[in-house]
């Protein structure tokens, strides 16, 4: 994967330059984005991480052409975005499936709305659904599917027309942790198959590091770019990568940025439960949260095990 991606380097697929987006609210103007510039290389998996309200969803809307910037320029494939883009696939946090259509027909909505011949796409839609583990569920209606399955259908709908660009705005935000893990793996698999350019918006540091070639870290209100981090880890990545030192280094890098901005605030004093290690035990809870009935862990137990 790496050599191929490296080969494509320098080919800017998405260009965002000096973008400002201001929203008028009853309380006055709110600057959602302020002077944001970055590129997405062709075939690259780029994540944007930031707290709620940093304008990362706005960024997705601007790139999709569903919203106009107040200032600055957005270009996709070398053309300025001045209308809704159609050569892309979008996945939102909410799967937004049509309740009266089966999983298969929801995927084929993309084809129908484009006025393409549905028969030609039926087979590839079935294959796509099977590739995300939905074989045998093609005829089910959305209310018969679990949250994770619905989101898989939404992802298939975003891919059926084989778009060069995939925009995902918190696609796993409404899913439980286990489903998220599986979906992260599935997305990696899907994106490895084609030479898709992917813009992945999330507030999960772990997901961003696991999936990305590059990560843009945003500051809260107004949204600015705080830093861009290259993730150099071989692909395909297994879930166990997340416990490795390289992974930890990347997540710490992002977390430190959030802490410097006050997005995250750690507990102030190191926990007395972890006197050996230099870091607090993950089980140590902030004051007031622990139940008096819980027996205290042996000193250094967790810390030592982790170290």
């Amino acid at each position: 994967m790496r050599p191929f991606r490296a080969m494509l380097n320098g080919h800017k697929f998405v260009e965002v330059s000096d973008v400002v987006r201001v929203f008028a609210t009853p309380e006055g103007e709110v600057r959602a984005l302020d002077g944001v510039s970055f590129d997405v290389q062709q075939g690259e998996f780029l994540s944007i991480v930031g707290p709620s309200g940093c304008g990362k969803s706005t960024l997705a809307m601007l790139i999709a052409g569903l919203m106009r910037p107040s200032a600055g320029l957005v270009a996709v494939g070398g053309r300025t975005v001045d209308r809704p883009q159609t050569s892309l696939g979008i996945v939102f946090q909410n799967p937004v499936l049509l309740a009266w259509r089966s999983a298969l027909d929801n995927v084929l909505l993309q084809v129908e709305m484009r006025g393409l011949d549905v028969r030609q796409y039926r087979h590839s839609a079935m294959e796509l659904l099977a590739s995300v583990g939905l074989e045998g569920f093609e005829k089910r209606l959305p209310h018969e599917l679990s949250g994770g399955m619905k989101q898989r259908v939404a992802i298939c709908r975003a891919l059926i027309h084989d778009p060069p660009l995939l925009l995902m705005d918190e696609p796993f935000g409404a899913l439980d942790a286990l489903t998220r893990d599986q979906m992260t793996l599935d997305i990696q698999g899907i994106c490895a198959r084609g030479s898709k350019t992917v813009l992945f918006i999330t507030h999960s540091i772990t997901e961003a590091v696991f999936l990305s070639d590059r990560i843009i870290v945003m500051t809260p209100r107004p949204g600015r770019i705080d830093g861009i981090i290259d993730v150099e880890m071989p692909r395909p990545r297994r879930l166990a990568v997340r416990e490795g030192p390289a992974f930890a280094a990347y997540t710490r890098q992002i977390r430190d940025r959030f802490m410097a901005r006050g997005v995250l605030r750690d507990i102030e004093d190191p926990s007395p439960l972890a006197p050996l290690g230099g870091f607090p035990s993950p089980l140590a809870s902030p004051r007031g949260c622990g139940s008096p009935l819980t027996p205290p862990s042996p000193p250094g137990g967790e810390g030592a095990a982790g170290a």
Binding site: L66, I90, F92, V96, L98, H143
Partner: protein, 258 residues
């Protein structure tokens, strides 16, 4: 397990009828005040030709009123949803018109529309169409914004969005409106006939009351209730046929509350 669904109302009705009959017989209530159910049924059987004639007229008025409320109400709702200017122009008038008691303009309708069936159809339509408009507007507007974003990213024309997303999405609301409308159309037709008529169940009802033929009046009311119920059930049945995905979910929630 079907009997669990229909047995409670059936038992309630049966018990009511028996108690009614017993009351009338036991206390020798005069017939012109309150006839016994058996007496009403007897009149129903004896006068069925007379009643069928008037029922036909009233059903005809109801169906026309209901039909007009659909063919005027739904397009009007579409116009309101798609044109903010027309919405501002029409909506306040619509609400104002709704707050005028239809029976109050009944005499005017007769002046304008004559003595035939048409003014009754008009009253039925005027009473029935408001919920159709309101519910259709709500339904057409209830599409999730993300879905509309997706549709635009698919390069879909507004016509396709309407046909494949907005309209099917609005069907549950539209049918909610239609169910209210169909029962209101029954009310409208009777109101129209009360104002002035020489035919129809409303006329039969007035005539029977005037002659203290309470049995016949009750028979007319019974038929009216029957018409309302049957029409409602038909609309409900069409709804299940057209939007099975919605009906199935409704049944699930109903079963969940049992």
């Amino acid at each position: 397990m079907r009997w669990r669904e229909w047995s409670p109302p059936a038992i309630t009705i049966l018990v009511t009828l028996v108690a009614w009959e017993a009351w009338v017989v036991g206390f020798r209530v005069r017939e012109y005040l309150l006839p016994a159910p058996s007496g009403i049924l007897a009149v129903l059987a004896a006068e069925w030709r007379y009643l069928a004639l008037h029922t036909g007229v009233t059903v005809y008025e109801i169906l026309w009123g209901f039909f007009l409320s659909i063919v005027v109400g739904i397009p009007l709702a579409i116009v309101i949803v798609y044109s903010p200017v027309l919405e501002r122009a029409i909506y306040p008038l619509l609400v104002a018109a709704q707050s005028v008691p239809k029976i109050a303009i009944g005499p005017l309708l007769i002046v304008w529309a004559g003595l035939g069936i048409f003014p009754k159809v008009l009253v039925a339509f005027l009473i029935a169409f408001f919920p159709v408009v309101i519910d259709t507007v709500a339904g057409l507007r209830s599409v999730e914004p993300e879905m509309l974003h997706l549709a635009r990213s698919m390069g879909a024309s507004e016509w396709r969005v309407f046909l494949k997303i907005r309209l099917p999405n609005a069907l549950p609301n539209i049918f909610a409106g239609l169910k209210v409308a169909v029962t209101l159309a029954v009310v409208g037709a009777i109101v129209g006939e009360f104002i002035q008529a020489d035919r129809g169940l409303g006329y039969a009802l007035l005539q029977a009351s005037a002659m203290l033929n309470t049995k016949l009046a009750f028979a007319s009311i019974l038929i009216l209730a029957g018409i309302g119920t049957v029409l409602f059930v038909i609309v409900d049945w069409i709804e299940r046929l057209l939007i099975p995905w919605h009906a199935s979910q409704r049944v699930e929630t109903a079963a969940g509350t049992l």
